[in-house]
C-alpha cells in the first residue's frame, strides 16, 4: 500500500489521494502550536535537487522536511558539478552513496524524476518536471478547496485561466480535481489551450463565454516570463486586459462570490490587478500555508526502499 515515489497524480488511486488529503489536516493543526516541529522523520535526510529555479516550492518542501525533523541538504545545481557536465546518472550515484532517504526533484525535462526514481532506493518526489506534472501543487490545491467545501468538491466548477499548454500545474491540478468529481474548464489563448487532453474539460477562449459557465473558482496560472509564454501574447498589458483579473472583473467575481486561486508568485498587473491581492475570497495565502502541510503528509507517507 505504501509507495516509494510520488511522480504524478495520474498514477495515484483515489483512496491514496483521499488519504493524503485527510492526513494533511493533522499536520496543519501543528502550525497553531508554539512548537511546530514533530520528531516523525528524525534521522532521515531529504535532498533538494532543483535543476530549475524555484523559490516557493523549494522553501515549502524545506520547511515541511524540517518540521518533520528531517535533515535537509540542498544540492546546489548551478554551483555543482552539473556545470562540469556530470550526467544525471552520476549525480544520482553520488547521492545514493550519501544514503539520502528522500530526493525532491525539479527538472525542466518531463519524466526525469521518474528516471531518477528507478535509479535510487530513496523516495523521489516530483516537484515539477517540464510540462508534465507537479503533484504536490495539485494536492495542495485540492486540499485548499476541500477546506472551503468540506462537503466535497463534487460538481464544483473550477475555471483555470492562462497558458494551459505549457503548464504542469494545469495538468496536475485538473487531474486531481476531476478525480474528486469537480468540473474543470480552461480559458486561454487558442494557441495555449491544448486541443486534446483530459476528457470532459470545456475549453474557452473568451472570458465572457467562460463566465457564463458559472464557475465557483477562478484559478489563474502564472505567466512564465522566463519561459516561452511571452512570445504568445502581444504584450503583458494586452494579456491582463484579455485574460487577467482586472479591477472591473474583480468587482464581478466578488459580486458572484467566486474563490480566487493562483500557484504563485503572482505577476502583479498581469494575472491579477492590485485590488485582487486583498480580495476577501482569495485563497492564495492559504495555498502557501497548505502547501507545507500537504508536503509533510507526502513525506510522512512515502516509504524509501529497503526499510
Amino acid at each position: 500500500m505504501a509507495r516509494k515515489d510520488l511522480l504524478d497524480i495520474a498514477s495515484l488511486e483515489r483512496e491514496e489521494i483521499d488519504l493524503l488529503l485527510d492526513q494533511a489536516v493533522p499536520f496543519k493543526e501543528l502550525f497553531t502550536r508554539s512548537v511546530k516541529k514533530v520528531p516523525a522523520l528524525k534521522g532521515k535526510s531529504v535532498l533538494m535537487l532543483f535543476y530549475e529555479p524555484s523559490t516557493r516550492t523549494h522553501s515549502s518542501f524545506e520547511v515541511a522536511a524540517k518540521r518533520l525533523s528531517a535533515d535537509v541538504t540542498n544540492f546546489d545545481v548551478p554551483h555543482s558539478s552539473v556545470v562540469k557536465g556530470e550526467s544525471v546518472r552520476e549525480t544520482i550515484e553520488t547521492l545514493q552513496a550519501m544514503r539520502t532517504d528522500y530526493i525532491v526533484v525539479r527538472h525542466g525535462r518531463s519524466s526525469l524524476p521518474g528516471m531518477i526514481a528507478g535509479m535510487t532506493k530513496a523516495s523521489v518526489i516530483n516537484a515539477g518536471d517540464g510540462a508534465h506534472a507537479h503533484p504536490t501543487q495539485a494536492l495542495l490545491d485540492a486540499f485548499t478547496l476541500k477546506e472551503v467545501y468540506p462537503e466535497g468538491l463534487e460538481g464544483k466548477k473550477v475555471l483555470i485561466i492562462g497558458d494551459i499548454l505549457h503548464s504542469r500545474v494545469a495538468r496536475s491540478t485538473s487531474t486531481i480535481l476531476k478525480r474528486l468529481d469537480a468540473k474543470v474548464a480552461y480559458l486561454g489563448p487558442g494557441s495555449l489551450v491544448p486541443k486534446s487532453g483530459p476528457e470532459n474539460i470545456q475549453r474557452f477562449t473568451d472570458y465572457e463565454e467562460a463566465m457564463k459557465w458559472k464557475p465557483d473558482v477562478v484559478y489563474l496560472l502564472r505567466v512564465q516570463m522566463e519561459r516561452q509564454d511571452v512570445q504568445f501574447f502581444p504584450s503583458l498589458r494586452e494579456y491582463h486586459k484579455v485574460y487577467g483579473i482586472t479591477e472591473e472583473r474583480l468587482k464581478r467575481i466578488d459580486g458572484e462570490g467566486l474563490w480566487l486561486m493562483h500557484p504563485g508568485p503572482v505577476n502583479r498587473g498581469v494575472e491579477l490587478c492590485d485590488g485582487a491581492m486583498d480580495y476577501s475570497r482569495s485563497l492564495i495565502n492559504r495555498q502557501v500555508e497548505n502547501g507545507i502541510a500537504v508536503r509533510m503528509a507526502v513525506l510522512y507517507w512515502l516509504k524509501p526502499a529497503g526499510e
Partner: protein
C-alpha cells in the same frame, strides 16, 4: 486460550478510576487528555463522571503517531489523526488517559507530544487497564483494572463508541 472481560468489568474500571482521580484532585482544576485511539474515549467517559462536580474540568485529545519510536514497524500506513488541545497547557494540571498501559512507550511519546504544546505544572497518568511488562520507567497514578498477563499475550480493548461494545479480550500466547 483467551479470557474475556465484559461491559460490567469496564464500567467498574471507569468508576474506580473516576473515584481515584476524585479522591486526589477534588476541587482542583484538571485537564484530562486522552491518547488516541481508545484513550480518548476513556477520557470522555471519565469526564462525564467527573463533570458533575464543582470544578474546572477540561478535555483534550492527543494523537501521538508522529512521536512514536516504532512507527515504521507498526503498520505500513499509520493513520494519523488530529490532536485537539482546546486549553492552555502552560501551568495546567494534566491527567493523561489511556486504555492500556503496557511497555510505557506510548506514554513516553505522549509526554514528548504534550511538551510541544507547553509546559504543564503537573502531569499524571490514568489508565483503564495496567497489564504490566514495562520497558520504560513509567508508572500510572490511577488504575481502573489490574490485569495479570504474560509478556506475549495480546490485550484487545473494544469500547462502546469506537467499536460498538465494551469488551476486553486477553489472547494468551504461550511461548514455545
Amino acid at each position: 486460550m483467551s479470557r474475556i472481560l465484559g461491559p460490567d468489568d469496564i464500567e467498574q474500571g471507569i468508576v474506580a478510576l473516576a473515584a481515584a482521580i476524585r479522591g486526589r484532585t477534588a476541587g482542583k482544576a484538571i485537564a484530562l487528555v486522552g491518547i488516541r485511539s481508545r484513550g480518548d474515549e476513556v477520557a470522555e467517559r471519565l469526564c462525564n463522571r467527573l463533570a458533575e462536580e464543582d470544578r474546572e474540568l477540561e478535555l483534550g485529545v492527543l494523537d501521538i503517531s508522529l512521536y512514536r519510536d516504532d512507527y515504521e514497524h507498526l503498520h505500513e500506513n499509520p493513520k494519523l489523526q488530529e490532536s485537539d488541545i482546546p486549553f492552555t497547557v502552560d501551568g495546567a494540571h494534566i491527567i493523561l488517559v489511556d486504555d492500556v498501559l503496557f511497555t510505557g512507550r506510548t506514554i513516553r511519546a505522549a509526554l514528548d507530544a504534550l511538551s510541544d504544546y507547553g509546559r504543564p505544572a503537573k502531569v499524571e497518568l490514568a489508565v483503564l487497564i495496567d497489564r504490566g511488562h514495562r520497558e520504560m520507567p513509567v508508572q500510572p497514578d490511577y488504575v481502573g483494572i489490574h490485569l495479570e498477563t504474560s509478556r506475549l499475550d495480546h490485550v484487545l480493548v473494544s469500547l462502546e463508541a469506537a467499536d460498538g461494545e465494551d469488551k476486553i479480550e486477553i489472547v494468551e500466547k504461550n511461548p514455545g
